[in-house]
Symmetry: C2
């Protein structure tokens, strides 16, 4: 049985077919707009009301499921090539209009918060159908890209006995009786009695494990859920999100930037090509939404133009040191408009600084690299000191307009002695990460990788503004419903 | 820079190239077997020892990383089309032979338990390189299959506030201070103070959420990690494993069986085609391993023959009721060789019964369907009672030789009243799953799906015998290392 996405591309035919889907609207007892989720578009099914019982017509309600039999004919009015001239309609599953009225399935504009409260139904709306189809296309594009480049997916673990990475606050996982935790003599919890025989957490990143696989298979990537137990109630943070982490043996930081830029452009291009209808719809949605915003808060470009712009332009590559100079002499810094005034080299960049660089100064995606060693993770490759004796690491962050950081990556410290020293200095326990260190003894080559927060990519491509609206069932502080 | 998988397929050429990889062996100061993880095969690099310093030659050790420059010439001895006539060798990263000797990188047969203890290095052995490349190919094949059939991937949540499904014991997730849990007046834990404001667990299945997406997008699938906090120390169970769960609107149980069989055959065929060299190697490995086993425990067929057999034969479809008849009159039942003797209709089938049906009776994959309602989950579609008044549900399990259950699925109960009644009877709290029930009010059509344990599929295709050897870093009771 053909689905509507395929039928809408078909030619008229005398061959009788049956189509199943859900009613999106039913006008004048005559025109059923039928949707089966395969695409945004509805198939218009035209019936002659006099050929049908009143009782049947009364069941053709919004959200009801029907099977319509008929022939595809040329469409005159509906803006589509074909419509279904229906000879038979069967109601497969009803929907009571009184019940529908109480939900987001009712045909009116619902605000996004209401839609979130009905996350089990919102995918049946045009907006969320479009978002989730784009999400799925991007997801497939990720696998396809790496497959074509000879990468192997490595399924790194979600449960981890090590909390040593320091990439963020972690969720603790346990099967101990919470009302009656076994304690050691010193009052600490006796995790020896727990499921894994030690304290266990949800991963914040698969990178360290992926590195071991890069040393075996050369080019690997992860694509799985990661977790942050941080109390961030913002439109850009989730407690559970999906992350993509490629890791490549023999790649240095330049190769890493090239890979990240090529990758992002490829998957965006894939979505634009394969989700043209959905993206068109989301562009219009965004324009509608922005009408209610003050001019200054509106996107400078329509959605598709913004995506094209990213594809066409090189990401601007700027060292941290250059960025600090630009920021120091910027208007908002001089006029003390920033919340955090940039005084000197070494300062950690805040989201306001990143937005200034991307949205005001360069007006394009920016790759910042070579950050001060002190503000970055222990595993990043140390550069030679510069003339002023300052220490930087081969880190890179990719900043996107409206999104902020979409990628964080680095060349990794491949030298055993340097890494061991760094772990000691930064208080990373060797007994937890002995394997990560030991790997540096055996043909430990230059290698690099990055992490891309998948939901931020989906946010960018769909033009949605809250990250809770680009994942089916968002997890945030206080919310694990469904 | 071309990788070795591509070079081994190339023609000889006078063009000078540089290849990077790790040394797998170095014979007679002359022949370097170089591997870069892109494939099982090594590139033979031939050097003239007199052209190189002794000091350099002494660093070309197993597991060291080198860059070799030269030209591809026709190979005479190595069993490959081409080899590299090397003019230059650069040691990129050394490996001390004394250190290597202590690890699984040393060139001898290591037992699988030792390899598990060095999970950060085992992917650099031939066996685990092959297994993980096959795993990655199967993983891509899954996405490709569903993509081509018009399915959308739905990323269902890992953290869940509902423990109502009853598919298995769950891990509890919390950020509360374990030494000082806040309690309610009645002595229970006050989860209102926890991160999500309620008790939260790791998911055992994305099915219920995926069903809501099938009602929106028509055809969806999940592919993500799932968890069981069960103290099962067997060769077929993991605490963390990856599961694939398609869910399709309008599919009944027959369609569901057709989909599962077609899907499994497609991804196996993909791996056979794209991982021929790795599977050949794994077949030989298995034959070696089986020599040490008593005849009765050996596989009846070599690996590739077994895979071909699955592709060529229909999966035998047998109702539970028929299966019980077969088992009741079977030799091991009559002679009381089963640990659980099958006495009557209604008995739950144990692994010994499943193995008998698959391996002794039918000698092919088997789909059992229409199980007694009492031994299956609440969400399965109830059949009409049979003549004897017995209640069955539209469940199906696919059983594979050597593996046991590889798929469990069902047509779902789409009727609001029946489901509500069932939830009440089986003690499923409506306040947890209100959304799952409510979905049945709005065009609730026939729909079906199944779950396939990805590691069991990898086990089957690679011929490995312990599930801990087909996932990079296995999680089992007492083990969350790395």
């Amino acid at each position: 049985m053909k689905r509507i996405a395929a039928l809408l591309q078909s030619d008229p035919s005398l061959h009788e077919i049956t189509v199943r889907g859900w009613v999106r609207s039913f006008r004048n007892d005559r025109f059923i707009a039928l949707n089966d989720g395969s695409c945004l578009g509805n198939l218009q099914c035209v019936i002659e009301p006099e050929n049908f019982e009143r009782e049947l017509l009364d069941q053709i309600n919004i959200a009801a499921a029907v099977a319509v039999t008929g022939t595809l004919v040329e469409s005159e009015g509906s803006g589509q090539r074909v419509e279904l001239q229906a000879s038979k309609v069967k109601v497969l599953a009803p929907a009571d209009p009184e019940d529908v009225k109480k939900t987001v399935l009712s045909p009116k504009r619902h605000n996004l918060e209401t839609l979130r409260e009905q996350a089990h139904l919102r995918v049946r709306t045009n907006t969320f159908g479009a978002v989730m189809r784009v999400r799925a296309a991007l997801s497939f594009a990720v696998h396809r890209y790496f497959q074509e480049k000879g990468f192997y997916q490595a399924h790194t673990p979600i449960l981890t006995g090590s909390d040593a990475e320091g990439a963020g606050e972690m969720f603790r996982v346990s099967t101990l009786d919470p009302k009656n935790m076994p304690l050691n003599e010193d009052g600490s919890v006796d995790y020896k009695q727990d499921f894994f025989g030690k304290e266990s957490n949800l991963t914040v990143s698969g990178q360290l494990e992926a590195e071991t696989y890069a040393m075996g298979l050369g080019q690997v990537y992860t694509f799985g859920p990661t977790f942050r137990a941080e109390n961030s109630n913002t439109s850009r943070h989730l407690a559970e999100f999906w992350m993509i982490e490629p890791e490549v043996a023999f790649n240095d930081l330049q190769d890493n930037m090239d890979l990240a830029e090529d990758f992002i452009k490829d998957v965006i291009a894939y979505a634009m090509k394969n989700c043209a209808e959905d993206i068109e719809f989301l562009e219009n949605r965004l324009q509608q939404e922005e009408k209610s915003k003050p001019e200054a808060d509106r996107s400078p470009m329509p959605l598709k133009e913004k995506l094209e712009f990213v594809l066409k332009n090189h990401f601007k590559r700027v060292s941290y040191t250059e960025a600090i100079e630009i920021l120091k002499s910027s208007k908002p810094n001089k006029k003390k408009k920033f919340n955090y005034i940039i005084e000197e080299w070494g300062a950690d960049l805040q989201s306001e600084h990143e937005r200034f660089l991307v949205e005001k100064h360069f007006k394009c995606p920016v790759i910042l690299f070579d950050y001060p060693a002190k503000i970055k993770a222990f595993y990043m490759r140390l550069n030679e000191k510069d003339k002023e004796g300052r220490e930087t690491v081969r880190a890179m962050d990719i900043l996107f307009p409206g999104i902020g950081e979409i990628v964080g990556g680095s060349q990794r410290e491949e030298r055993y002695d340097v890494l061991k020293q760094k772990m000691e200095t930064m208080g990373i326990p060797e007994e937890e990460l002995w394997w990560y260190l030991e790997m540096r003894k055996f043909g430990s080559v230059t290698h690099s990788g990055f992490g891309l927060g998948f939901e931020r990519l989906v946010l960018f491509v769909t033009g949605m503004t809250n990250i809770r609206d680009v994942i089916p069932f968002p997890r945030t502080p206080g919310n694990a419903a469904f």
